[in-house]
Symmetry: C2
Subunit: 220 residues, 2 copies
Amino acid sequence: MTKRHTKDLLYEQVARIGKATSSPKRLELLEILAQGEKTVERLAMEANIAVKLTSAHLKVLKAARLVESQRDGRFITYRLSGADVSALWVMLRTVAEEHLVELKMAMDQLFAAPEKLDQETRQSLLYKAKRGEVVVLDVRPSEEYDAGHLPFARSMPLGEIRQRLQELPADKEIVAYCRGPFCMMSAEAVALLKQHGYRAQKIADGTPEWLAAGLPLAES
Amino acid sequence: MTKRHTKDLLYEQVARIGKATSSPKRLELLEILAQGEKTVERLAMEANIAVKLTSAHLKVLKAARLVESQRDGRFITYRLSGADVSALWVMLRTVAEEHLVELKMAMDQLFAAPEKLDQETRQSLLYKAKRGEVVVLDVRPSEEYDAGHLPFARSMPLGEIRQRLQELPADKEIVAYCRGPFCMMSAEAVALLKQHGYRAQKIADGTPEWLAAGLPLAES
DNA sequence: GACACATTCTAATAATCGTTAGAATATTGT
DNA sequence: ACAATATTCTAACGATTATTAGAATGTGTC
């Protein structure tokens, strides 16, 4: 029967998306790309894998149309092919966190406290940031900040914090964030800040989570 | 470095979800289970695959904690392990529809018109259904209707429509729905109804899409 | 307790995937 | 034109996956 056959075709197409997201390395690449476009070399460096392997994985992601590429002179830049891809990453991770005990335990071990934000906390953070009651600190590389960041956030990449401590007000609460729940940069930043006497905490949200919650980012 | 190692662990866990959704058959099983719980035999029948193979795929889904099972006498019943799994299915399908040209074309061929609903259309449908201005017809098997259906919808399984035509008002618009955009039951229902002089149209939404849009279902 | 039934487990096959090394391509600067 | 650089393509390996058949498990019924 041809009805079966066409139906199989439909599910097969959706399975292409599933296949593309079935590899840990590819998921990590997606998460990095959700922070902004990057060259192959940069992606390989961030994900800690060989350039060749990165290229192979990017090819798979491209075949599933989750990313697109563009040549800029000698470099080839990759980016997510839409905001929905970033939302897909957040959804996959959320489902995994919800159902996979192994993941929950690994995260609890890694990050002592769970700083998951709910919608109300996000709004309240936004309000306090706007009024300058807290300093929201983006500790990712500065290009990622430039590609989009939380409203009212200031950029201070992890590697520069030590030399730029005096830029931070000693009397205000500092809220650090990075790429998302799996990223350890904000945790390191908080450790460093606390060590120097600042009141600092981190949040699990990165820009993908913020967007997926329906809140806008700031550019510039 | 152990930081790398623990990070790899995290992505590996998320990849379990991706792997589970990387097979067309498993996606079809997820879609069917999103309509309500079912036995293995029933799932095999609906998905048109061997019971053994169904069991094997369910095992994979269970290992990824996307479904859970329970023994009821001689039968084993499977169900989705949460509403977020249904939302994941909708998201995967939506991303595929958005980015994969092949899928778009296959769907256009299959279903002449695209009856995708936006949020406003959903609200307006809800309003008209409440006032009785349209008849919303659930053409899925009645157990699926019982497990949850669109508000104000009436159940009339595809196979029973021919004998129950007189139950339908001849002067009102009939809006038929089934399991979702990939399901052909509503299209068949509309063809049958039009053939008998009714004003009928179908919508792409099933209960998973309705839920994912943030709207409530009716039970009972 | 023997039987029928629904489901799963085991084992085996072919097909696909991840990874790496070496060759190939395209662009820029000289 | 030539070398340098970034990236991809090709080929190859072992590791995984989908599928099927046959044996095994657990549950209700006679």
